[in-house]
Structure formats: C-alpha cells, structure tokens
Symmetry: C4
C-alpha cells in the first residue's frame, strides 16, 4: 500500500471519466489522466477502454516514456504520449483531458477562424487557441495519432503555457492544475465552441480581451466546486451508463 | 415563524431552479430569486450552490445591499447584486432569473444582430433586447461579474422597463411579476434565440411588431399555468437529477 | 354510451399527444384533434392542458363553431377554430396537429426560403409550403392567435388542399386522413425543416420534384404503422413524462 | 438446426439495431443486415419493423434476388435490394446499414459540397463520398426507394469500392467487413457530417488527405471493440426503449 498513490485519485478519475462522457466531451474514445502526487514523475490513466465504462481497477501508472511502471498487464492507450510529454514539460499541470469533441473539431480544421474565449466561463482559453497541425511537423500521410514521445513533445511545445490546444482533424487536449479544473475546462471549451460558432453565423462579434479572460478565469477557478458537486451527483445517480 | 416568508415561495423557487436546469437555461451556474412578499425590501435566493441541487433549506433572505438579513451563515452568490439592484429599481418585479444560456449568448456578443421577438410565445421581448456592455461603464479588464451595488445599478438602469437584458460575453437576466412567469420568459427567450439564429442563416425575416409582441405577451401571460403544471410534473417525476 | 364516439379514438389522441411531446413537436402548447367518425360534424380535442399531461378524461367534443356539444364544463383552447374551420372545409381531413415547433418556425418568418420537401419521408409537403401571414388578412397588431371562425376560415382557405401550412411567427398546422398519419407528417415536417436548414447553410441543393414527392408520399403512407408501433411503445414504456 | 446460421449473428444484429437507434442513425426506418457466413450467398435482415423494436425472432434469410429462402412468412423490407445487390457485387462486404440520418441528408442534396473525411475517426470515407442520384439512372418521378434488383445493382455500381454512399434526398448506405465495423462507420459518418457542416459555416477548412484517411482507418478499425463494448452495455442497460 505504501507505494500506491492515494486511492481517492483513481476514484476521482472514474468520476471525471463519467462526467466527461455524460457531457458528450468524450464518447467511446478519449481519456483523462492525473499526475501521481506521490510519484510526480508518473501519472494515472486507465487502460484502453471507453471512458464511460472505466472503473477503479482499470487504472495504470505510466512514466514519462509511457512505460507501465507497475507492470499491470493492462493494454495502454496508443496516445499515452500526449499525457507523458505534457507532464514532463509542464510541472504546473496535474491533470489532462484528451478528446474528439464534435463541436470543438470544426475549429481545429477551419482556415478562417480560431477558437477564442467569447464568454466569461471560458477565460482559461487564450486569445487564439493554438492548433497542432501534424503535417507541419513532418508527419505526412500519418494516422493523426500521437504515437510516440517525439510527437508528444511536439504537441507539448505547441501547447506552450496554454490550457487548451486543438489538434487538426483529431480533437483537443486540455490541461489544468487538478482533475476537477481539467473537467471544468473541457466542458466550457465545448460550450464556448458552440457559442462562438453560432455567433459566427451572424457576423462580427466581441470576444473577451486577454485581461477580461484572465480575470474571469481567476474568479471561475475558485467556483469550480459548484459544478463538480452537481456533475458528481448526476453521474452517481445514474446506476449504469 | 412569524418573521419568515410563506414556505411555499421557497418551494416554488426549488421547483423553478429544477425546471430551469432541466430546460438547459441554467447549468451549474445561474440563479433564480423572488421578492419576499412579507418583507418586500428583501428577496429570497439560494446560497452559492448549483441550481440543480438546491433544496428548501438552501435559501437565504437578502436586502437590497446584498446583506443576509437573517445571518443564515450561508455563503451567498457573488452576483447577488443583479437581484438586489433590480428589485430596488423595479417595484413591479417580483422574480428574477440570471443565466449563461449558450444559445442566448451569441446575441450578447454579436455586433450585427440584436435578439428580438420572432415568435408569439416571446412577445415579452422588446424590439431590440438591450445588452449590458461592461466596458461601456468603465470596467476594463474585469471578470465580467456584477460584483457590487454600483454594477448592479448600472445593469438595472440598462434594463429599464424591459423584461430581459443580455450581458455581453456573460449571459442574460430575466424579470417578471412572479416566479412562474420569470421561468416562462427564461424558457421562451432561449427558444426565440434558437429560432432567430436559424432564421438568420437563411437571410431576411419578419419579426413581430411591437404591437403584436405586446398583444401576444398579454395573452400568453394568462396561459402560463399550462407550462408550469407540465414542467412541475416533469421535475417531480425525476427522483434525482 | 350510444351517443359517445368509440373510446379508442380518445386513447389514440392521448398516445398521439404524448408522441408529439416526446418528439419535441409540441411543448407545453399545441394540440392534436380528430374528427368524430360517429358525428362527423364534430371533433375531439383536449381541454386547455399541456399535451404531455393529457389523459382520456380531458377530451371534449366540439362542433364547427367551436361549441362544446356535450357541455363538458372543460375550458377549451383559444385556438379551437383552427380545427373547426379545417374540418368544415376539408371533408378528407380527419386529424389535425397544431404546434409551435422551433425548427419549423424559421421557415414561417423567412423572406428568402420556403419550406419544401427535400427528403422522401416528407413527400406530403407541397413544393412551397404555404404561410399564413396574419397581417395580410387585416389583423394588425393582433396576438397572432386564431381566435374565431373568421380567422379559422382564412387559415383553412390558405391551407387549400395541402397537408401542411405554416403560420408566420406562430407555428404550423398539419392535417391528415387519420391520427397516425397526422403524427407521422408532423414528425417528418420537423425533420425536413432541420435537413433543409442545414443544406441551406451549404448553398444550393436539390429538392424533390412534385412527382417524386407524390410517389414517395403514397409509399410512405402505407408504411406509417411501422413508426406508430415504435413511438407508441416508447411512450407506453415511459411511466410518466 | 444444422441449416441455420449461428444464432449469435442474429443477436449481434439486434444489438446493432438498438445501438443505431440509440445513436439516432436509424429512426423508425432503416435497417442493418449481415451476410450469412454459413450460406454466403444469403444474408440476414429483419422483417419490416422499426429497428428499435427488433428481436431475435424477427430476422429472415434472403438470397441475392431478395427472396426469403426459408419461407419465414415475414413481410420483408421494400428496399432489401440495397443489401442483395451489394452483397452480390462486393464479396468483401459482410454487413450493411441503410439509414435516413438527418445530419447526413444535407450532403446528399447539396450542389455545392460533398461529404468528405474531416476527422481521423472517419478515415473510412473517401475523399468525395459518392451520391446516388436516382434521376441519373432514368427513374423520373419515382418514390426514391430501391425497389428492385436493377436499382440495387445501380446503387452497388455507384458505391464501387467505397465504404459509404449517399442517396439523394433519401439517406445513406454503409458497408463493412463485419457488423461491428458497419455500426462504427455509420456512427462516425454522422459525426463527420455534423463537424463538416459546422466547419462549412466558418469558411474554408482542411480535410484529411487520402493518405491520412487510409492510415487513420487502419488504426481505428483495430480499436472498434472499444466503442462496441460501450454501446452494447448502454443498450443492454436500457430495459426498454
């Protein structure tokens, strides 16, 4: 027991997975992970399974090369390098969500418009959310997945200091200081995308300034428990998915 | 007991909260309040909690400075000043909904189109629904929230005699003579926004004239019990959220 | 008992009401009626209640002047004249749905595009679905409702021989030879509106020719039992709404 | 018993039908079939019933002329020739989904844009998904259905070697080497259509290259069990539809 991380973090990741599935951020694909506070050069992530089905027993602990440090025997996600590289390059990040959310995807492929914060709930978004274009990194004709540490490192560098990065024709990756805030940011990235897309069909609009975004993010981060309590109650009240 | 407002108003606010959550007007954020008929210079509003989780015990009574007159010990909403200022300036208003409804938000940021009534159910909307732009009131780089009485008063003045005001990049505030009508108006503001946005993608359209809007509003206000009965039944039949 | 219509028609209208509510064609408003086969100059329609709550006991029998011929004591719908006038002018019509369906409403207000059949399931739609503009009939500044026989007759004449008519800023009215087909047509009018609106955002498209529409309608009318069985099972399995 | 196909394939088709109904790919109409591995010149398909209601006992075995080889007495689908002709012309195909999915339909009628793969989950789509235009095959003023072997053969030839074909004003047909992959492809064709349509409202976008699509398809086909497990669990947990 002494070597294992606190069990409640795995439970929190189960709840996070089910919330993200309930909110249509994740479908049968995508994953959420957390840095292990006891062994901070490793992180917890489920085996290769749909997030809506994940349980406490499905988690494994990986190092920053994507190696299963406890030899769990579980089959890992192909894209574990998204998580590994970001945890290595961003000591401030303790939780990561990767998803293929349909309403966010158009902003990953558009040549005309970047995703940007248009409402105060999504002040964590930067003025122009960066997009990782796999072709720009020499991967021509690839399957779009982040399959190894080199690609993970490219993605992490493209992310820089931001909270969210889009991946062209693939999805998004959201990072945060803790699991609850990562879930919050993933949910409101999706809401922002819908609001911005609808506003775009009407013509020009006013986005948040970077000052407004920063101030709103600071306020909302402190209100995060309100949504977590709600969403946790909702998924617990659903006996099954 | 003699000093407390009739308990049924708190129950009505619980039902209202759950209806607005069921209809996606409120999510984890937003709030609904009612003027206390016994102490009309105070109003009832829940403590800082998600509307989908609110119960009878969560309500507190605030005065128009946002002070908890019964020292309940509850933590209030940061934005209680929205309610306080409007109740002070609008004696005809006895119920208020504040929300971040995604399909309404685009109209709060659009430079091209105002929300306006395009269907008879939303005749309570004015020809061009006003938008509170926080920057126009000297709040530069703020977190967008209505955090004090000064900002609440600005919002109330911008609302004027209307039933609905949008807040740029933030949400909407809906007022009515009673809780049931406030819920009705919040719901149909959202429907109107979707209908208008869809019509906008097709080009020019015909809105209601102010005469049509006024006449339709008068009729619909008298039909309000029909929707309340339905929605109340729906939320009561859901054992849990 | 001898004077009463067959009870199964009232049950069928209850099922129809609940299907249309489940499919978001009706919300708290709107109504479905059926001509009484025993007294074909009268029709069955519920009292003024939300369709999602209607039961067998809520129905009343009205004549073509909108008079309650059995003095049920029920409060009728203001817009019963929609039904009364159409049954009088269209002996082929035995069931009518009136609704405020949000995805259909944009076509009632657009100056640019008419609703038209773009998929074979909605072959019952005419090439350009007619729109009743209340202003064109001298009703200026009215509440948009069909409140009397004169307005009902105007609507019925505007409908002509069609299956569907839109009402500007108000909703739609759908007619059919029987209740099940009226439900079918109301559902697929809504689907057609969504498909056509989405196609419009892409530019020009191909609609059905009137010959295709006619042929498809004839085929689909004979397949109507398939959807009715499904939808009836769905609403019966929901213990409550 | 010796002449019957393995019972588990019929069970798999029941699960597939219910998944496709849950995911709104099928509504009251549409069908999913599988080639009988024991008698590969026949296929299993349900009788004329809504997919959401189908059970093990509803299946029949048809040959490539659409004839019920076991004289089940069931009433077959009018459009069984879609399946019969494709199984005859495509020995690699062992499962077929035909549907009227609303978000895919706009791409079947648009004169401006073809459906194409814009996200890695839908790499099975060809660069420009073919559209079967019934008029181009001399069927003028018809009811749009694939009613006989000649029309089935036209559709199969238009499909060529692709995984998906659209049918103008009618729907889509999706083929795959097995039932689970056919379900997967139908689901992600729908997601791709929504993503592409939303991107189109923003202007130009980047689609997958054919090399990317091919590589992504190969990867995703091997991940197919993950979604099937999820969706199977979801439909099994719903006691009734």
């Amino acid at each position: 027991m002494t070597k294992h991380p606190a069990p409640d973090l795995r439970d929190e990741l189960v709840t996070a997975s089910r919330i993200l599935f309930m909110k249509d951020i994740l479908d049968g694909f995508g994953h959420v992970s957390a840095r292990d506070p006891e062994f901070p050069d490793t992180f917890l992530i489920s085996r290769n399974i749909a997030p809506g089905l994940v349980t406490h027993a499905d988690f494994m602990r990986l190092d920053f090369n994507g190696i299963d440090v406890e030899d769990s025997g579980h089959r890992p996600f192909l894209e574990r390098f998204i998580h590994a590289s970001i945890y290595r390059q961003r000591p401030d990040v303790n939780a990561i969500v990767h998803s293929h959310t349909p309403s966010v995807l158009p902003f990953s492929i558009s040549k005309r418009k970047s995703l940007e914060p248009v409402m105060h709930m999504s002040g964590f978004l930067s003025g122009e959310v960066p997009v990782y274009e796999v072709r720009d990194h020499g991967h021509v004709g690839c399957d779009m997945l982040i399959r190894n540490s080199d690609m993970g490192d490219e993605l992490a560098r493209s992310l820089g200091d931001e909270a969210v990065i889009l991946m062209r024709g693939h999805g998004m990756t959201v990072v945060a200081p803790d699991v609850r805030l990562a879930v919050f940011r993933a949910v409101y990235t999706e809401v922002n995308a819908r609001v911005q897309a609808m506003a775009l069909t009407m013509g020009e609009y006013t986005a948040l300034t970077s000052e407004e975004a920063l101030a709103a993010d600071e306020t909302n981060s402190a209100q995060n428990q309100r949504t977590w309590s709600l969403w946790e109650t909702q998924v617990q009240n659903e006996v099954t998915r």
